[in-house]
């Protein structure tokens, strides 16, 4: 048994290292990922240990980076690319949506694309616009992509390895404000759940909170705070946004009769909208209240001085729980 106490950044770093040790076709590419080890230090030390060929510093050109990764994947490599900040994925949006997502389908499966696009996402670090965004719904909306988000160090370690092992292109979202926050015990002898599954991370009976990425921590804190009000809150870490793993969600909501979805992303047409629709379609008669959504405002992401107003916090989540019970 090997147990260590790690941050999300260390978990991802160790996961990347393990994947590179297991398969020499795995290579990393992105802006400043090599010599520097990435602006968030997720690839720290990997170029030193695996060499410049397998940890490649790329030009500052996101469309070029993703396109190059497509060509590598078509030729048998398993590229893992880092988009330095969430908003920088927009220059690469064309390649991801028009090329990455469609290669397997168009070619009748002759050209699978084992490609991982790592995106540090979300706010809370005092960065500027385009450095704090949550673009997940735009990719979850695109057939042919898979989209996952890790929320904690242990998932970071396992999920990145599972994403790299997947033969499909995976958009891999990392909550950047959690990179160096909480630590958790990683026991590598405990097998992880499959990648494309949601997990109940706190049991409860009265209401189901659905979250992913950075909002899982907020929702767990909200569930703890709700105890004093006599409410038993279940929290589900969705982990996979495309495909959605509705099984655990529907089972929970059928039991609790209430659901609240929380994400940093804009509320309008965010993941909460799809989850709300699916829950309503699948367990309408179990619901005691409409599915409620907590999200970022439908405005551009604010300047750093005001981001605390934008980001859903414990109070906004608990307000939504209260509204659910008020029905």
């Amino acid at each position: 048994m090997s147990t260590s106490r790690i941050t999300l950044a260390k978990g991802l770093n160790a996961g990347l290292r393990a994947a590179m040790e297991q398969d020499d076709k795995v290579m990393l590419m992105g802006e400043d990922v090599g010599r520097l080890g990435g602006v968030f230090r997720i690839t720290d030390g990997l170029q030193k240990d695996f060499g410049e060929r397998r940890v490649l510093d790329s030009p500052l050109a996101e469309s070029g980076i993703v396109g190059t990764a497509v060509g590598l994947a078509m030729r048998g490599y398993r590229p893992v690319i880092e988009i330095q900040f969430d908003g920088f994925v927009y220059p690469a949006y064309d390649q991801i949506v028009t090329q990455v997502a469609k290669m397997s389908y168009r070619s009748q499966g002759k050209v699978p694309l084992p490609l991982v696009i790592r995106i540090p996402f979300g706010g809370g670090i005092g960065a500027v616009e385009h450095h704090s965004e949550s673009p997940e719904a735009q990719f979850a909306h695109t057939p042919g992509l898979k989209v996952v988000a890790c929320s904690n160090p242990v998932d970071g370690y396992w999920m990145i390895q599972q994403a790299i092992a997947s033969d499909d292109p995976v958009i891999f979202l990392e909550p950047k404000r959690q990179y160096h926050a909480d630590k958790a015990d990683l026991d590598t002898s405990v097998a992880p759940p499959p990648l494309f599954t949601s997990q109940v991370v706190r049991r409860g009976d009265d209401v189901t909170l659905l979250a992913y990425g950075p909002m899982v921590r907020t929702c767990l804190a909200a569930a703890e705070a709700a105890v004093s009000e006599g409410r038993s809150v279940e929290v589900i870490d969705l982990r996979t946004l495309s495909p959605l793993d509705m099984g655990p969600v529907l089972a929970s909501v059928r039991r609790t009769g209430r659901a609240v979805v929380a994400h940093e992303a804009h509320r309008n047409l965010g993941m909460g909208s799809e989850l709300s629709a699916r829950i309503t379609e699948e367990c309408f008669y179990s619901l005691q209240a409409p599915v409620l959504r907590v999200g970022g405002f439908d405005t551009p992401y604010p300047a750093a001085r005001n981001e605390h107003h934008f980001l859903p916090d414990l109070d906004r989540v608990l307000d939504a729980v209260d509204r659910s019970f008020a029905f």
Binding site: P59, G64, G71, M74, R75, Y77, D94, Q95, R106
Partner: protein, 312 residues
């Protein structure tokens, strides 16, 4: 040799003309972009590619596929949505691929194939195979950011990419000269440190020489090359294009210099019998008629399979 070249170009021309007929008659549905007049670039460039090299083409890519060895019957079937199409009818006119022939796909996002070719060339460097990657695009694509990104990427990392710019003078339906201040498009590449040439794309010998040198450089690990091949399309941008943008007399001049007319004149001047020259066209048309008829008899792709292969 020259007669073989004529036959190769006629195969593409006859394929495109048969596609046009099938589009107008109904079996082919939707937008189709033909490459009539540009055959020599595809034939000359593909003649210098090795089987292991990768080609990334554009939506005007039927001829490049034929030049790469993709069977016309499978192309016709693809365009007619048949299950026997090269991609089972899921790719269509602008998006089919045949990696088993080194044809890694058309693309209707202008310039999007360029960075993908960079990745294929990087793979060729990493795995030691030195397989080259050729990306072909039009003059309009030179203004796409992805093409600039790809050229710099290949130059900075010394990757074996052959950038082929088919300059047919029109950026879709607008003269390229109206869209650039510097009409010498090859200077974009030289500015990035890529050896670049401008050639007469109607001259098969020039296309062959430029491509041979570029593929040799790629295979020897000497990095990327850029070829600006001047050509012309003697049909619309798409089937149905009214071509109002063409100045009077242009098409008539193009019909004299386009590569099939040009090579036909050369062969006759060399003393090749008219009968031999004419046989190329006849044979190509017969082949395409046979291939199209066979494809037409095949079953349509089943909509019930529409979700297959979305994921591996």
């Amino acid at each position: 040799m020259k007669l073989d070249d004529l036959l190769s170009m006629w195969r593409i021309r006859a394929l495109e003309e048969k596609i046009r007929d099938l589009r107008l008659e109904g079996p082919i549905v939707g937008s189709v972009h033909l490459a009539n007049g540009q055959e020599s670039v595809a034939v000359g460039a593909c003649s210098q590619l090795r089987p292991q090299d990768a080609l990334y083409a554009t939506y005007r890519g039927h001829g490049w596929a034929v030049a790469r060895g993709v069977p016309p019957r499978e192309i016709f079937a693809e365009l007619m949505g048949r299950v026997t199409g090269v991609n089972g009818g899921r790719g269509g006119s602008a998006h089919f691929s045949a990696p088993q022939h080194g044809f890694h796909g058309e693309n209707s996002i202008v310039g999007a194939g360029a960075p993908i070719a960079v990745g294929a060339a990087l793979a060729g460097k990493y795995d030691g195979s030195r397989r080259a990657a050729m990306t072909v695009f039009g003059d309009g694509a030179i203004n796409q950011g992805a093409v600039a990104e790809a050229m710099n990427f290949a130059a900075a990392l010394g990757l074996g990419v052959v950038f082929v710019c088919e300059n047919n003078r029109y950026s879709e339906l607008t003269p390229i000269d109206d869209m650039v201040a510097e009409p010498d498009l090859s200077r974009r590449a030289s500015a990035l440190g890529i050896p670049a040439v401008r050639i007469d794309g109607n001259d098969l010998a020039q296309v062959r020489t430029a491509t041979r040198l570029a593929v040799e450089a790629a295979a020897a690990g000497r990095g990327p090359s850029f070829i600006e091949a001047h050509t012309q399309r003697i049909v619309g941008h798409y089937i149905g294009d009214s071509e109002q943008y063409r100045p009077a007399g242009e098409l008539e001049r193009d019909l004299v210099v386009e590569p099939i007319a040009r090579l036909t004149r050369e062969l006759l001047a060399d003393g090749v019998p008219t009968e031999s020259v004419e046989r190329c066209e006849r044979r190509a048309r017969e082949e395409m008629e046979t291939a199209a008829a066979a494809a037409l008899r095949d079953p349509l792709a089943d909509p019930a399979t529409a979700k297959e292969h979305l994921y591996a």
